[in-house]
Structure formats: C-alpha cells, structure tokens
Amino acid sequence: MNQAIRNSWIVAIALFALLFGSISYVQFFAVDSLNANPNNNRQLLKTFCGNRGPILVDGQAIAESVPTNTDCKFQRKYNDPLLYAGLTGFFSRFSGQSGIEYAMREQLTGTSDDALFDRIAQTFTGKQPQGRSVELTIDANIQKLAYDMIPDGVDGSIVVMNPKTGAIIAMVSKPSYDTNLLASHDEKAVNAAMASLVGVPGINLYGSKAYKGLYSPGSVFKLVDTAAALESGKYNKDSILPNPSPMTFPGITYTLPNYANGQCAIRDKASFAFALENSCNTPFASIALDLGQDAMTAQANKFGFNDDSVYFPDRVVDSRFPGSQGVLDAPGLAQSAIGQKDVLASPLQIAMMTAAIANGGQQMTPNLVKTVRTPDLKTVSSLTPEVLRQSTTPEIAAQITDWMVSVVDNGIASAAAVPGVEVAAKTGTAELGLNESGTMLNNAWFTGFAPANDPEVVVSIVMPGVDVATGAQLTSPNASKLFKAVLNK
C-alpha cells in the first residue's frame, strides 16, 4: 500500500512539474510573442494608461497625465488645447497619436533605450513608472498673441522662429480643436469626436498646418529666384532686369502678366530693388528662363524644398518645387518662378528659407523641443542648434536682406515696419481663382525678419483663400506686432 502511495505522490509531483513547466513557458519563453500579440491591449494600456511625461511650455504643463480611479490609471489632459493642438498633437487609445505626442513618444513614456536605467531604478525603488518631460521652445505669450491674430473661422498659420538657433518661438494654425476630446477613455465618445472633427473644413489633426500644410507660395518664392540669379554670376546687385507687361512666349497665346494694381506696369526694365519692392512678376520669370530649370531647382533645394527628411521632431511635410519631376515648358517654368503652378511650400519651409537669409545664408535645423528631463528633473537632452545646410553665401544673403529692408521701407510690406527697428520682409499673393461671388481669392503671405542687421526673429504668415484686402490686413500689420512683441519694442 505504501508503495502505491509513493507512486501516487510521484504522479502528484509530476502534475506540479508540468505546472512549473507551463508557467515557465508562459512567463518566460512566450513573453515576447504574447506581448506582441495584436489582441493584447495590455501593452496599449501600459502606454495609454501609464504616467506619461508632461509637455511643458515656459514650465507650465500644456499636456499632462492625471491619476484616475479607473483601471486606466492615468488620463491625458490638455491645458489650453486649442492654442497647442497643432504642436502637441493628440494622444488617443483608439485613434493613435500625432504631433509631439507621437514624435517624442519614447521619451514621454520613458521607454526609450537611454531610459533603461531609469526603468531599472524604478523597479527597485518600487516607484510607479513615469515618463520624461518634454519642454518646448515655445514662448507662451507670443503663441497666444499669434493665435489670436487669426480670426476664428478663418484658415491661417503663423510661424515665429529664431533664425540663429532654429528654435520655434510660436507656431499656430486655425482651425484648431480640443485634443481632450480624443484623449478620452470612452471609445464611443472618441469615435464620435473623431467623426465630427474630420468634417471640419481646413482642419488637420495630425499636426499644425504650419508644418503639415502646403500652399502656393506666390511672390515670396522670388527670394529663391533672387538668390539663384546672384549665385549664377550672371547677375549682380546692379543688374537691370527685363520687365515686360505682360511676358509673351513664342508660338503660344499664353501671357504672364505683372501685378495689375502695382507700379510694375510703368516701366519695362527694373532693378532688383524695384522688382522686389513692387513684386513684379516678369523680371523673375525671365531670370528663371535665363538660368534654366536645373539651376532653379538646385537653388530651391538649397533653401529646403523637396526635402522630406526634416524632423523638428515631428516630420515637416516636404515643400515642392516641381523642377525635379520632368521638364517644365517655358510658361511652366515662368509660373513656377513666381511661386505658382505646382510650387507648394509649408509656412515652416518659408520661415526656414527666410531664416537662412537672415542667418548669413546658413539654414538652421528647426526645433520645437528645448529640453527633455527625467521625472527627478535631470536634463537628458537640451536644444543644441544645428546647421541644416548652407543655402547661399553670406554676401548674397546680405544683399537680399538689403533689398528686403527696402520692401518694408519703400515697398508693399510697409505695414510690417517697427519703429526703431530695421525690418526685412517679402510678401506674396498667390492667386487661387475666383470664388462663387466673383472675388479673386489668394494665399496671402508674409515672411520677414528683424532686426535686419542682427536678426533675432523670423515671422512667416499665410492666410490661404482670402481676398486681397483681407490678406493685406492679416499679414504685414500682424507681423509688425509679432516683431514688437518678440523684440520687446
């Protein structure tokens, strides 16, 4: 009988050996495959319900994770969401992530490779895992000022940046939205919010249109033409350019006009200064036709067009100069030279181009993140200005700056002037076509910097789809206010 008892005991122990084995399998060998299972929402819970690091502006949290009493232990909360939606992006358990929330996700969750030691320390100290904080380069006052400049219901974007460091001082676009709606833990509410938000005309949930939107740049593109001309050696600051009104092309009926209301029509030759001050079209079209498509494309690329690898840290949409895609005919190249046809630029691209001119031809990598800190406030990384590329020579940059100053002093951007400060600027009006009531709608642009002799701030504004008067009113005067605010004038 005792032998049978021993045998039974062996059976019982064998059953337990199997259990030890199956637990080892599940909790050791199969861990990776179970964690990677698409039906496993625990990893999702870890990300979405964890203590994610805050996003800060001037030390104040614009996005933070607050404890809840539910199974999902933390709720992402946005303070002043409309003002910052374009930068933070959204953070949703059901709809994904965008903006800084997406681009800085590894730091915010604390799962980046360099946070390994933090995690180990947290395991041993028994602290709740906590992500790192991300402080933005944004100045809250300028951000608010810029945001309020775009009237509600009007499409528009403004970028304010430091040309020497590439730091973004303000970046706004409208229409904006409440990111809290998508951060809810209630799936139905999030889906409903998502459905209604995507229906808002002109909205972009995946980052501010200041870096995700593309617009015809119109006359601000003439800065590229000017740089190309001077760089080619065929032109100098005293060159006299042809200024026909309109420009004709051999063998076809198409003609390229000058701006009807300006002073361009009064002379058929123009200096660079005159052409820029009055934003004449045909002198720049003739430069492009003279230099050819390749030279134009090369110069556009040197200012950052056709580059899809700029991260600030979210990816900046690549602005396009179509020269690299097939041969343009003469009218096409002429139209491209004045920022029409298939030329498209993001407001940030225009700001970067302007910053390159302001910074002696050196284009700095744009950056939105000032510092990343651990929960115990140790700085992990902080902004180090990086040169992205040399867009043009210091001499050419200085020359263009001079002409841009005269655009404000004597030309059509006079409203951007700031008393006591030299402002350099260029405006643009890209025609989009007539609306139902017969009014011509344009993309109204402003880009410029100040002070011209030692640039501290670049402002680029686009108001797409407005009539000429509205465009004029919403660009240069607002730029003036932004210059004053940043420069404390």
């Binding site: 009988m1 008892i5 039974s8 059976v11 059953l15 199997l18 199956s22 964690n35």
Partner: protein, 464 residues
C-alpha cells in the same frame, strides 16, 4: 517495505515559528497592496491582520492540546497561501470596486473556526469510517442540490453548481469532495480484501472481477452525471481522479488505473462528440489565440487575457497594483493565478506552487505514516484531490489543458472552497497526528524518544 524513521517529537514550536513567518508574509502582502495603491492603513487593515493572527494562533493552540504530534508544516503553509489570496483579492477589490475581500475575510474566519472544531471534536479520524455510507448519501445529496428547483442558483458562468439560500450562495460540490473521499476510503478499506482476492490474470496484469468493478462504474457514472447535468467538467474530472487514485492505493493494482484511463478515454471522446459545451471547450483551447475565438461569446477571451497578464508579469512581475489583472474575467476566483502571476511574476507563482507542493507532500507523508488503511486512503485521497484541483485550474489558466472552472485552493475568492479546503487541512492534520504519534500501548502521555513509527499493517502481506 522500507522503514520510515520519524523522531516522535511534537514540533509545535517549529510550527509556531513558521506560523509567525506565514503571518508576516500575509501582513506584508496586504501592506504592500495598501502602499502601492495609495490606501491608508485604516482600522480594517489592523483588524483583519489581528483576526488572521488570532485564528492561526488559535488553531495552533488547538493542535497543541488536541493533536500535538500533527505535522508542523501544514498549518503555516496554508496560512501563507490564504494570506496571499486575501491580499490579492483586496488588491483586485481596490481597482474593481468589489467587496469580495470582506467576504473572503469572513469566510476565512468561518473556515478556520470549522477546522478548529474538527480538530477539537474529532477524537480520531477513524471515527469517520463509521459514516461511510452516510457520506455516500451526503455526497449524492450535495451533488444533486444545485439541480433542485428553489435552492438552485441556476446556471452561473456556464455551470449549475451553486445553491442560493437567502443572500448566501454555496457550492456544495466543494464539500462533496470530502464526503466522497470519506466514502471511498471507508468502502475501499473494508472491501479491499475482497477486491484483491479474485480476478483473472492476463500475463502480469491481474484484472478485477466484474462485480468489483461496480463501484468504479458508479463513480464513473457519477462523474459523467456531474458533467451532463451540472456542465462542470472540472469537478467531473476531479471526482473521478479522486476515486481512481484511491482504488489504486487500496489495491496497488495498475489494472485499475488502466481501466480508469480507458473509462476516461471513452467518456472523454463521447463527451466531446455529444456535448456541445465540451466540444466548444476543446476547440477554444486549441484555437485560443485565434482572434475569432477571442472575440466570440464563450470564447477564449478569459484564458487569453490571463495569458497576456502572465506575460505582462514576466519573471519578476509588475508589483502589486501596477499590472492590470482586473481586465481578466473572474480575476479573483478562477483566474487568481493569472492575477498573482501578473503582479508577482514567475517568481511569485513558483513560490505559490512550492507551497502547494509542500502541503500535498506533507499530506502524502501523513498517509505513509498512519497505520490504518482508512487513514491512509483518506489522506491520499484528500491530498491528491487538492493536487489534482490545482493542476486542473492552474493548468487551465496557463493553457496546459482546457480551462475549466475550479477554485484555486486557499487562494481564490469563494466561501465554499475555503471551508472545504480548511476542513481537509484539519483532517490531514488529524491523520498526521496519528501518523507521527508514538505507539504507546500503555497509554502514557509522554512520548518516547524512539518509538516504532511505521507498522506496515498486515494488509501489506496481501500485496501481490
């Protein structure tokens, strides 16, 4: 047979020391839950720990008085398991808002008091032999109760195993485990001579006579009945396994095991063919990770969610309060192993399994040591039942076998299970007391330093 040498010492002080360790473990586990989930150490915490301490020490004192040679390891191991269970249930209550913890404390108190009563009033485990057929009757009644209209709690989570009287619900099947073990032990110890004597021999294999097969067939039919009428696959396997191990130990004949396995095979295949809920169980087990089965009603969501939890815990676990065990259905009862595994990790589960292994081995040790066949059979039956129950539910949770609803002894939330298992503890302790007590014909109270320990009874002679 080898002689088992046991120094006849009461070892009650060892038990006290281990008990203090087990109580510290329970206290620390509960404290960690409170700390990690931001709970204050309110009166409840101190009251509950005090209650557990008083109950355990009370049990210990009862053993000192009534069963001073009882195994010193069993009580501390069980207190540790029960304490871990209470902490985990409390932890799950905090995030789910349930009050299962309160009920578990109440049932723990009741169960320990019942176990103390068994120690106190049951002078000798052999007395139970007198109730062999009453136990059979009790078992039948207990198994039929959940099917009686009026007191049946109906179909709960797919099985009809609950009764409801007023606000109280109870799973009589848990108690039936004990009464069945008593019946089998009584019946087999009385009839084993008869069963052993006759039978054809085929080669080395001695077959039982057909008439001796009757109890086996009855047990098999009862198990099938549980499966059919209560839809409780887990209990069905448990009862049949209990009977098989007991008849094997009673007869030492492999033939019984083979017949038993054959019956399981027949029953299993038939059940798979006939009963949709069994077919479904197996399909869900095989295809558990298939998204279609995860999403389906009655699909693999529960077991897969448990596996995800276990994987989330990994080697060392997330720590109390930092996993999401409450996303698993029945996290504090059927799936409590997944909850423990997620937050305490593989390390924690290995510790829990080791405690079970220790408890079960001590039960078998008591069976080896005791001198009467009834006691041996009862101790083996009860210990093996606990082992098999652990295997069925933990194996189910880890997807070693199909998941069937059984409680995890001492850990899972559930009063009936606690009560039944604590009574099993009391019975095994009582048998171990008999096993380790020095034989003393003169009835002197002092233990002799080296008494004869193991008397393989005369029944051993009949072993083929």
């Amino acid at each position: 047979m080898s002689q088992l040498l046991t120094v006849a010492k009461p070892r009650r002080n060892t038990e006290l020391l281990l008990l203090i360790l087990a109580l510290s473990l329970a206290t620390m586990a509960n404290a960690l839950v409170n700390l990690n989930l931001g709970r204050t150490f309110d009166n409840d915490f101190y009251t509950q720990i005090a209650i557990l301490a008083v109950l355990s020490i009370g049990f210990h004192i009862a053993l000192r008085i009534k069963a001073k040679y009882a195994d010193p390891v069993i009580l501390p191991v069980v207190v540790a398991l029960n304490g871990i269970g209470l902490a985990v249930i409390h932890r799950l209550d905090i995030t789910s808002g349930d009050t299962a913890g309160q009920r578990q404390w109440m049932w723990t108190s009741l169960a320990v008091v019942a176990a103390i009563a068994v120690i106190w009033f049951l002078r000798d485990h052999r007395i139970l032999r007198r109730y062999t057929y009453i136990s059979l009757l009790a078992s039948v009644v207990l198994l039929v109760l959940p099917l009686v209209p009026g007191i049946s709690a109906g179909n709960v989570n797919g099985a009809t195993v609950w009764i409801a009287i007023g606000p109280f619900t109870f799973q009589p099947g848990e108690i039936a485990k004990i009464t069945l073990a008593i019946f089998f032990a009584g019946y087999l110890s009385s009839n084993r001579d008869l069963i052993l004597l006759a039978g054809k021999k085929i080669g080395k294999l001695q077959l039982p006579r057909a008439r001796d097969l009757a109890p086996m067939i009855v047990a098999w039919l009862a198990s099938v009945g549980v499966l059919v009428f209560q839809r409780d696959l887990g209990s069905s396997i448990l009862f049949f396994g209990l009977f098989m191990v007991m008849i094997y130990v009673a007869t030492s004949r492999i033939s019984w095991i083979l017949i038993g396995l054959a019956l399981i095979a027949v029953g299993g295949v038939a059940a798979y063919q006939i009963f949709p809920h069994v077919t479904r169980r197996i399909d869900v087990w095989v295809n558990a990770l298939d998204p279609e089965y995860i999403g389906a009603a009655g699909g693999s969501f529960q077991v897969v969610e448990g596996l995800f939890g276990l994987a989330n815990g990994g080697l060392i676990g997330t720590g109390f309060g930092q996993g999401s065990p409450d996303t698993v259905p029945l996290a504090n009862s059927d799936m409590i192993i997944a909850s423990i595994g997620e937050e305490l990790g593989l390390v924690g589960l290995f510790a829990v399994l080791s405690l079970y292994t220790l408890f079960i081995s001590r039960g078998f040790r008591a069976a080896l040591g005791t001198r009467d066949a009834f006691g041996k059979l009862l101790a083996v039956g009860l210990s093996f039942a606990v082992a098999l129950q652990c295997f069925i539910i933990i194996g189910g949770v880890t997807r070693l076998i199909p998941l069937t609803g059984l409680t995890t002894p001492f850990l899972a939330a559930g009063g009936s299970s606690l009560l039944a298992n604590w009574i099993i503890v009391a019975l095994i302790l009582k048998i171990s007391d008999a096993a380790r007590r020095p034989i003393d014909v003169s009835n002197t109270p002092e233990p002799s330093a080296s008494g004869p320990q193991e008397h393989d009874t005369k029944l051993e002679v009949t072993k083929p």
